[in-house]
């Protein structure tokens, strides 16, 4: 049970770090000049990602991680406590 907890954790972490890489190193640096051809309002898109967008995504990534891991913790570690409570009922 514990090793599958760790495996699920690793999958979550790897996929979130993939998003982290794409929004900063990808959109903000590697493909930034290409994205600059698109404009949202006064922002060139690549410029926006490197000075604004990547930071917003970082915040979203951490809170997604918090949400997913809390769910995972409950599934693997709180279930025994819950069943104890049920037994008492």
């Amino acid at each position: 049970m514990k090793s599958s907890y760790w495996k699920s954790n690793l999958i979550i972490v790897t996929s979130l770090l993939f998003v982290w890489f794409i929004v900063s190193y990808g959109f903000g640096i590697i493909w930034s000049d290409e994205l600059d051809n698109l404009k949202i309002g006064g922002f060139k898109l690549g410029f926006w990602f490197s000075q604004q967008g990547s930071i917003y995504f970082f915040v979203i990534i951490i809170f997604t991680y918090v949400y997913l891991l809390n769910k995972l913790d409950k599934k693997y570690f709180n279930s025994s406590e819950k069943s104890e409570i049920k037994e008492k009922d």
């Binding site: 640096i29 000075q51 990547s54 930071i55 917003y56 970082f58 990534i61």
Partner: protein
């Protein structure tokens, strides 16, 4: 009210608040002193982390740097925020579960080795002192400009305040003071930004404002800025000048360096539960992002305002702030074509870059500098990037209370970071060096006395840095991040995610990272600064980005060496299993 009276008032009230909090929350045990008794709520810890993290450099220098660098400045924005993703996902929850006091504690225990602990202590002290030196310069600038006291007096006042609440309150006092300091600094940063955004674009949200049209015209602010920059001979504001590989490496070195900074990591030791450590990293980034997404807007506004109010203006009718900062020594004007009109364009105005002032005044009333004019360009203005944020409210002609608020905010940013760093230094000396290595028999009470003495000595040394600032502060900041990325981050990360890593591998890795990074930086920054350009750099990586390469070397060496020696003892496997559970 007059600016100086208002500034005294704001700074006085905020200082009184910090001292009050310190008395209310003073530390009674080593547990309180090092990790605030593990009783800090995730939101409060998030604010404290944000204040701890956002230093004088973030508050005072960053926007000015971005204004000067344009899109190249993005490395600081992404680099100094993206590290929190790494912290939250890879380090903070596990280190909190480990549940000890310091970063060397984890490295020493995980690699069952005093040598590993010692390497960690050395890196930590070096990183932290580098950082403290920068804070003290910030305190000095604010005091000398806004309170018109001597820089040295300013530094001493700052040191006394930090001494009071760090030595008395320890981590607990520092945490709650930092919460207050965060509120002061973010308010002080946002208020002028919102005012200026309204003035220039009619948009109250700076993050959107700098992508908006200039009020009363149909031109986008950033387009106008690109056009002005090109006219004055700069590169377009929204385009890179650095190579992609260099930008990539600098960003990575700053991100992994952030995740390896001891004074940031230790903040996550103070929350009650593992899940709180994750949440707390998220809150910290929200609070940090509030300033970091405003900074590029402030940079764009400041640049356009600066050009507007100075370019082609007669010196005698130049705005007051120009002369005020000139008298502090952060602006200089050399009338190259002798027409009495300020001409601002690209290139260094002066030979030797930094102005050397004489006692004389020129025929227009300007301070005369000894430097020969740099005749390769027409620029006549020397401007220190640091004044952009501090002078911005004056440049935009905002009311005096806003200017006073910015002074109080800058002090909050500098003092909160200094206090956090001093605590990490004192903990590593009293706990890691004395208790765990040299004098294991001391009681908790004695350890607490050592901790307080170490904090006092560290504050004294930091004060000396402020009064006699070493000329190399700016150069060594790259050092701090490079070292954190190439030594501490890999040791922590592999320690949690790779059980097979033994002490031989970890120590070899850390030493490799330390040597690669420091020799590269020392070579280009100190021994041969004239070679410091992309022609001579390895793979086109500047010294600022070398920490990332050092980190990769650390990983490779650690994994290879580890395979030649026996597995870590079984207790270590159990310990890692234990910290992997929430």
């Amino acid at each position: 009210m007059e600016l100086q009276t208002l500034t005294y008032l704001f700074v006085g009230i905020s200082f009184a608040l910090y001292i009050g909090i310190a008395i209310w929350s003073r530390a009674r045990s080593t547990n309180d002193f090092y990790i605030a008794g593990k009783g800090v709520s995730p939101i409060a810890n998030g604010m404290a982390t944000a204040a701890d993290w956002m230093s004088a450099a973030s508050f005072i220098s960053m926007a000015g740097l971005i204004a000067f660098l344009g899109k190249d400045g993005s490395v600081y924005l992404m680099g100094w925020t993206g590290g929190y993703v790494l912290l939250a996902l890879l380090l903070a929850p596990y280190l909190r579960k480990f549940g000890q006091y310091t970063v060397p504690d984890f490295i020493g225990t995980r690699y069952y080795s005093k040598a590993a602990r010692l390497v960690a202590i050395i890196c930590l002290i070096f990183i932290s002192f580098t950082y403290v030196a920068g804070q003290m310069r910030g305190v000095g600038i604010v005091f000398s400009r806004f309170l018109e006291v001597d820089i040295n007096t300013g530094v001493i006042i700052g040191m006394l305040i930090v001494f009071f609440y760090a030595v008395l309150g320890g981590m607990k006092g520092i945490t709650y003071t930092q919460v207050a300091q965060y509120c002061v600094l973010i308010f002080a940063y946002l208020v002028p930004a919102i005012f200026i955004s309204l003035l220039i674009t009619n948009n109250p949200i700076p993050q959107l404002g700098f992508g908006d049209k200039i009020a009363g015209s149909s031109v986008y602010l950033l387009d106008k800025l690109d056009q002005l920059s090109l006219e004055l001979g700069f590169n377009a504001y929204t385009e890179n000048t650095k190579s992609n590989i260099d930008v990539f490496f600098i960003t990575a070195a700053l991100m992994f360096g952030t995740a390896g900074l001891p004074h940031v990591i230790v903040r996550f030791f103070t929350v009650p539960k593992v899940s709180d450590a994750r949440k707390s990293a998220g809150y910290a980034l929200v609070f940090i992002a509030l300033l970091y997404t405003t900074a590029p807007a402030v940079a764009a506004f400041a640049k356009i305002n600066f050009i507007d109010s100075v370019q082609k203006v007669e010196y005698q009718s130049a705005p007051n702030w120009f002369k005020n900062w000139e008298s502090i020594g952060l602006i200089a004007w050399k009338d190259k074509n002798d027409d009495g009109i300020i001409n601002y364009s690209s290139g260094n105005a002066l030979e030797g870059v930094k102005p050397i002032y004489t006692d004389q005044l020129g025929k227009h009333g300007q301070r005369v500098v000894e430097n020969e004019p740099n005749q390769s360009n027409k620029n006549e203005v020397y401007i220190d990037n640091d004044i952009m944020v501090l002078a911005n409210p004056e440049i935009a002609q905002l009311p005096n209370w806003v200017i006073a608020l910015v002074a109080a905010g800058a002090l909050a940013a500098a003092l909160s970071t200094a206090a956090g760093l001093l605590l990490v230094i004192s903990a590593s000396i009293s706990h890691d060096l004395m208790k765990k290595m040299l004098m294991p028999k001391i009681t908790e009470k004695q350890e607490l006395i050592f901790a307080r003495c170490a904090a006092a000595v560290a504050i004294f040394i930091a004060g000396l840095f402020g009064i006699y600032p070493p000329g190399f502060v700016a150069q060594v900041v790259a050092f701090a991040f490079g070292l954190a990325a190439s030594t501490i981050f890999p040791a922590l990360f592999l320690g949690i995610f790779y059980k097979r890593l033994n002490k031989e591998g970890a120590i070899a890795g850390m030493i490799t990272g330390l040597l690669t990074t420091s020799s590269y930086i020392i070579y280009f920054k100190f021994l041969n600064p004239s070679f410091n350009n992309s022609e001579f750099w390895i793979f086109g990586i500047s010294p600022e980005g070398i920490g990332f390469l050092g980190m990769i070397m650390n990983f490779i060496v650690a994994l290879i060496v580890s395979n030649f020696y026996s597995r870590p003892p079984s207790e270590i496997y159990q310990m890692i299993d234990e910290i992997r559970k929430p």
